[in-house]
């Protein structure tokens, strides 16, 4: 009984910490549940791109679980430090280690039960909403049946049980390590220690960041780019932590050692205050920065991808329906197509027949196209798929009458090139670059950029590829349905057949799912960011309260004190978001390369998305700042 009383009085006393703790715990449980049950939802499983979506969702849920774990550890450590004194007091009053452990265990048990039950309830309610939004985004209407997803309930509960066991374990370790008098001292311990290595760490952090930025800037859209980008991400994480924890102190200490700079009223208070803040909050600020960076990158990428769907469709095929074959469509199959067209009352226009050589995969090195062969011979350096077009076809398409010499060529590639001379398949050409090629298509729907080279005669050594396509109008049935019928009648695979209606549907589902996962993950990240900021402000508030009083006694006016502390808080507060935007701007070139290879890239769009995502986050961030600052003032007064 006495234990319950102690626990509840402690909840009351530390309400400023426990309420946000519970809120974020509940939201994290709900988020985990939502992602897990979306992953298991039949509605999504039955979609045509269901498997891809589900693997995306499972990636998202793994990520959110990771965040949950780290964040719960962070926040319970915060509570542990806050309550050290209280534990010390109980122990001095004669509680045994067993009593204290029981107290901790009961408290955690209570928190676990409350937050898991409420979290699951919220999760179940909001999962329906998430599913609805997902289906809206991926443009399908599906009814869903399962109300509660039992396996997700069990996994979520077990997962948080493990988290709680860990935090109880750490609580116990902490109890063992300290005797009562040390328990008392813990809170007032100075932070001047363990900073001997800040010079080395600070320099290392900055170097890591520079390497990471260099990697990101020089990323090329090849198969190795993924691992390279991941390496950059890891380096950014390490670098950010080291820089925030040690680099900032290094810089501030350099400023401090310059007496003529340091011993001026504003600099003096700001620099010394900042050193202390960075020592206490370096890790917290780095966390905030990385969380903001991830939100920015995730939102930026998923929104860019989603809004680039129409572009990718345009690049993959010039006509609504297209068929690629090695020998051209036989007459019988063309009749089949006509049959389906008639049956559905469709009107056909803009029929295209184009003959090219089979694509030669390879890459460009200065003025040479290094061909590696067919799709089976690609390597990590492959960037392009080159196809020859005869001048005859070219003249037909453009209603022109051009005659090319043996060593002349006209070239087109969506990633604009500037070469005037080019060695292609061991032959030198004077090339003229085209801005546009009406019938540009992507033969294997790959990330490799198509290149079309118009020459007077197709090289004999290469086999041919026949492109057949047309546009149409149907009224009675949907475009994708109509296209499906044509594909079925031709009995050909997805590699050979492209229908824009089908493609659109598939990509919307895929990228819509991508956006949805992006939003859910970003929401989780934002929540954790808010909470980290909140706890930072609270702890600063407590330590600033004393500083405030002393500064006034020594002769700083109230106005000066408030101003100086405010500008410090604001400065320290703005560093993470500014660093996050810097991170984003270094990530953009790498993202751009990847988007470009999928033909999703559009400078204007990229700028608009980047700008709006950044401003959204900055505005949100300032709102959080405003709200938590009120809390801070509450503590100070």
């Amino acid at each position: 009984m006495i234990f319950n009383k102690l626990i509840f009085s402690s909840f009351k006393r530390h309400a400023k910490v426990y309420i946000p703790y519970l809120i974020s715990n509940i939201i994290l449980v709900a988020m985990d549940y939502i992602l897990l049950s979306l992953e298991n939802s039949n509605g999504i499983k039955n979609l045509s791109s269901g498997t891809t979506l589900i693997s995306l969702l499972s990636l998202g849920s793994t990520f959110v679980m990771m965040i949950s774990f780290i964040f719960m550890m962070y926040i319970s450590n915060f509570i542990r430090v806050q309550k050290t004194r209280e534990m010390g007091l109980y122990s001095m009053l004669g509680m045994t280690g067993y009593n204290l452990k029981k107290l901790i265990f009961l408290e955690k048990l209570f928190l676990f039960i409350i937050s898991t039950i409420l979290g699951l309830i919220f999760g179940i309610v909001f999962e329906k909403l998430a599913l609805m939004i997902t289906f809206r985004l991926i443009n399908v209407s599906i009814s869903y049946n399962a109300i509660i997803e039992p396996s997700s309930v069990i996994i979520t509960t077990c997962f948080f049980m493990v988290i709680y066991l860990f935090s109880i374990f750490f609580d116990f370790i902490k109890l063992h390590k300290l005797n009562p008098s040390e328990l008392w001292k813990e809170q007032s311990k100075g932070e001047q220690k363990n900073n001997k290595h800040y010079k080395l760490n600070g320099v290392l952090g900055i170097i890591l960041l520079i390497i990471a930025y260099y990697l990101a800037l020089t990323t090329k859209p090849t198969m190795t780019s993924y691992s390279r980008f991941m390496l950059a991400v890891i380096l950014v994480i390490l670098g950010t932590y080291l820089t925030f924890i040690s680099g900032s102190i290094l810089i501030l200490n350099i400023l401090k050692s310059r007496k003529s700079f340091y011993y001026r009223p504003n600099h003096f208070i700001a620099v010394s205050g900042m050193i202390q803040r960075m020592k206490q909050n370096g890790a917290g600020l780095a966390t905030i920065c990385l969380l903001c960076s991830s939100v920015l990158v995730i939102l930026f990428t998923s929104i860019s991808v989603y809004s680039g769907i129409n572009r990718i469709i345009k690049v993959w095929s010039p006509t609504q329906v297209s068929v690629i074959s090695n020998r051209g469509l036989p007459h019988s199959q063309k009749l089949q197509v006509n049959h389906v067209v008639k049956e559905n009352g469709a009107k056909i226009n803009n029929i295209i027949n184009l003959k090219t050589t089979t694509p030669q995969y390879g890459y460009i090195k200065n003025d040479k196209y290094v061909a590696q062969g067919g799709i089976n011979n690609i390597s990590s350096s492959t960037t392009n798929a080159l196809m020859f077009v005869s001048e005859n076809d070219y003249n037909k398409i453009y209603h022109k009458n051009i005659h090319l010499n043996n060593n002349e060529a006209i070239m087109y590639s969506p990633s604009k090139m500037k070469q005037k001379n080019m060695n292609i398949l061991n032959k030198n050409y004077h090339v003229k670059q085209m801005d546009n090629f009406k019938y540009s298509f992507n033969p294997s729907h790959s990330i490799y950029t198509s290149m079309f080279v118009v020459v007077n005669k197709l090289p004999n050594s290469l086999s041919l590829l026949h492109f057949y396509g047309f546009d149409y109008h149907v009224k009675n049935i949907s475009n994708s349905h109509f296209e499906q019928k044509i594909q079925n009648s031709l009995k050909i695979t997805n590699e050979q057949f492209t229908g824009k209606g089908i493609l659109y549907k598939m990509l919307t589902q895929l990228f819509g799912g991508f956006v949805m996962v992006g939003i859910l993950v970003s929401l989780t990240l934002l929540l954790t960011t808010v909470m980290v900021i909140y706890f930072k402000q609270i702890s600063e508030g407590y330590s600033d309260r004393r500083r405030f009083v002393t500064m006034q006694q020594v002769g700083l006016s109230l106005k000066e004190t408030t101003k100086s502390i405010h500008s410090q808080v604001l400065m320290v507060f703005m560093i993470p978001i500014i660093a996050a935007i810097i991170n984003l701007s270094f990530a953009i070139p790498a993202i751009k390369q990847v988007l470009m290879s999928f033909n999703l890239y559009d400078t204007r769009l990229l700028i608009i998305v980047g700008f709006s995502v950044s401003s959204l986050i900055v505005i949100l961030y300032l709102c959080i700042y405003g709200l938590t600052t009120r809390m801070y003032h509450h503590i100070i007064d």
Partner: protein
């Protein structure tokens, strides 16, 4: 020579409310340059209130406190802050050092606020380091040193501005008796060099180090005694006797 004069000073907290507290009533006394005055009284007597008003940390409800012909009550809050850091030095019971600053920087703090050149600051700190015996701890941080050492740093911070008046509120309140003696001896040395000091305390042992003692009770001054040629012990006894008459209430 007159340095500070208080004239019918009164302070009412939360005036015009139900909870109004009359903390000081009609306080009048003068302090001369070179004096060492202790203000004695029990907890809640109004000692800190009185010191805060002299220190410009608070304003009187009525009456004046005049330091060097400057009516402190007439200063705006900002001017008071500037006046404070130029002309007054403080020592508090709980030291009030900034833990973000090294001990040296804590001492420099008021000078930096006054935009004193670095060379001048370095020049001024030298004698203080010697007389306060803080050579070994000067470049450490407040959280790394003992209470007595922290109080020495606080005294150095108070003295480095070469203030007209040094104010101390229970300066030995958090220290053990040995350390307290050391600190009080430091005060005496400074006073011998000409420093005017006003010190608030509830302990007769502490007050006995001063040259003059004012007794305050319920916001009023009841006695004003001088040490003259008395020894430390005799003066303490005199203070004790006065205190007893005061608490008995037979005046």
């Amino acid at each position: 020579m007159k340095l500070l004069s208080l004239n019918k000073l009164a302070k009412i907290y939360d005036e015009n409310t139900k909870n109004a507290v009359s903390a000081l009533k009609n306080i009048t006394f003068e302090v001369n340059r070179g004096d060492y005055v202790s203000i004695m009284g029990e907890s809640g007597a109004g000692k800190s209130t009185l010191l805060d008003i002299i220190a410009t940390l608070d304003k009187p409800t009525s009456g004046q406190s005049i330091l060097n012909n400057q009516d402190l009550g007439k200063l705006s809050k900002n001017d008071a802050a500037k006046y404070r850091r130029k002309n007054l030095g403080f020592v508090f019971q709980n030291f009030n050092l900034l833990d973000s600053l090294s001990n040296r920087d804590n001492i420099y703090l008021p000078l930096v606020l006054n935009r004193t050149p670095v060379s001048e600051m370095e020049h001024r700190i030298e004698p203080l380091i010697k007389s306060l015996n803080i050579e070994k701890i000067i470049d450490r941080y407040p959280s790394d040193i003992s209470g007595g050492q922290q109080q020495r740093i606080a005294i150095a911070r108070a003295l480095i501005t070469q203030p007209d008046l040094l104010l101390a509120d229970e300066p030995t309140g958090s220290l053990d008796s040995n350390t307290s003696k050391q600190i009080l001896n430091l005060f005496n040395e400074e006073n011998q060099k000409g420093q005017t000091i006003i010190m608030v305390t509830h302990s007769s042992a502490t007050a006995s180090y001063s040259k003059r003692t004012l007794f305050i009770k319920d916001g009023k001054i009841y006695h004003d005694i001088y040490r003259g040629d008395l020894s430390l012990e005799d003066y303490q006894e005199k203070i004790n006797n006065t205190m007893i008459t005061l608490t008995r209430g037979d005046y």
